[in-house]
């Protein structure tokens, strides 16, 4: 539908605002760009957030109301931007990680923020809603290597983290602190990304082993059971996976420039993933991120090493 150019280097990540009318993207060019759609359905550049991060901005996340945007950077900080009268201002820059922050995620209530880093740790921050102050309430150790991504469960209060150590860990509140509730070994190399379906019953993980693993969430504390896996579809690393809350379709972004769309089916009693469509050459270089629109079924955004952000309609 649209190709959005403006970033001067690789686009790592993108995120839809909760209302689906805006799209944010972040890049190795150290900026965050915001894009919007007008009444005629035409996409255009709205805003550039810059001069806060002095290295690559690796990932961004909108708070559930869309009032705040958090950005994780290789400069070891996480910035929080507040929207006021259509303008975004950086109200806080969270420090603590020793080096590159790779991912940031809000929980569904918007009162907790999780970050993860090359320093092997996952941090949980609490948001004081009265004065928009952030306080670190837990530092979680357990991964043996970089943590690539964090994601909150959509219903229960636990989060999962994916790592270069080939494992996925889940973390939940136990007593008065957070602790690891499970370590999942399902991948043979770096786990780059995980996502949940709308009600959180299932989780898919992807990574450098070019496989998708389907898990079932088996307890509110974050235990999982491996259901099935899909290999042989992706010839190169899978960098990102996203589950559409509207249609139940799953999209992957991969190092072979393609975007693929999968659906959940069942072989016998076991749920499994099956390939519906491959968009070869979706970008002219690696695809780093794919995100389904939260408001419009089948609308998909992707970010690539070709500095571009694209909007697709899957029909």
């Amino acid at each position: 539908l649209a190709t959005l150019s403006g970033h001067s280097e690789r686009v790592w990540h993108c995120a839809w605002a909760p209302n689906g009318k805006e799209l944010g993207s972040c890049s190795a060019d150290k900026t965050i760009r915001l894009w919007g759609v007008d009444s005629e359905g035409k996409w255009g550049h709205r805003n550039t957030l810059e001069d806060v991060h002095d290295r690559t901005v690796r990932s961004i996340a909108w708070s559930p109301t869309g009032r705040m945007l958090a950005s994780a950077s290789f400069d070891a900080t996480t910035a929080v931007w507040l929207r006021e009268d259509g303008e975004f201002n950086c109200i806080s820059q969270l420090e603590g990680h020793e080096n590159e922050v790779k991912c940031v995620a809000w929980d569904k209530s918007g009162s907790l923020l999780a970050t993860c880093s090359r320093d092997k740790s996952v941090w949980i921050w609490e948001v004081d809603e009265d004065d928009d102050e952030f306080e670190c309430i837990s530092v979680l150790h357990g991964h043996a290597q970089d943590v690539k991504m964090v994601a909150w469960h959509p219903e229960h209060s636990f989060l999962v983290s994916a790592s270069y150590d080939d494992t996925i860990r889940s973390w939940s509140e136990q007593g008065d602190d957070w602790a690891c509730s499970a370590s999942l070994q399902g991948h043979k190399s770096t786990v780059w990304s995980v996502c949940f379906n709308a009600n959180g019953q299932y989780m898919v993980s992807v990574g450098d082993d070019c496989e998708l693993v389907l898990w079932e969430s088996s307890s509110p504390q974050g235990d999982f059971k491996e259901l099935s896996r899909l290999a042989g579809v992706h010839p190169r690393t899978i960098y990102h996976v996203d589950w559409c809350p509207k249609t139940g379709l799953i999209a992957t972004a991969a190092g072979d420039d393609a975007i693929r769309v999968f659906e959940l089916t069942a072989t016998g009693d076991t749920p499994a993933l099956s390939l519906l469509h491959t968009q070869h050459g979706a970008h002219s270089s690696d695809v780093n991120c794919v995100k389904w629109s939260p408001s419009e079924a089948g609308l998909l955004a992707s970010a690539g090493d070709d500095n571009a952000l694209k909007v697709w309609k899957f029909a």
Binding site: R10, A28, R55, T56, R58, F74, N99, E100, K102, R118, D146, K148, Y164, S189, T190, D208, R236, T237, G255, D256, S284, S285, D286, D305, D306
Partner: protein, 159 residues
Amino acid sequence: MTDLINPTPEIYQAAKSARTTMELEAELNDDLEDPIDALEVYNIIRGIKDPEHPNSLEQLRVLQPDHVEIDDVKNVLSVRFTPTVPHCSMTTLIGLCIRVKLNRCLPPRFKTDVYVTPGSHEQETAVNKQLRDKERVAAALENNNLMNVVEKCLTDLEE
């Protein structure tokens, strides 16, 4: 002088690689289809300087012409390199230098894999995993101290 990891590396004469008359003609004639071939790629990287010796990667046989494989149609390129000693702690740095040089000199359409020759290094799997992780490579390229070292290695030695 500080302790070297390999104090006495073998120095080899640089290989004289010949092209056929037809290949030369194609190189010189703009009208002829001239895909990027392994030798061209090798020529881009063979002059990279070893991080601890005043020699090129070619002279130390860390790189060899037939360890470059390229498919110009499928846009796939793989380069394997052989550390001079299996405990070489500079191996990841050498791989990074090769990656950076290739990224700078080749069109971005190529999918490039850089890895150590199987069996040539104690931490082969770990080194290969690091070199394959583009996020780690990207972060390394933003590290000024590391990049100073890389730039020194990329300043070609005088012939």
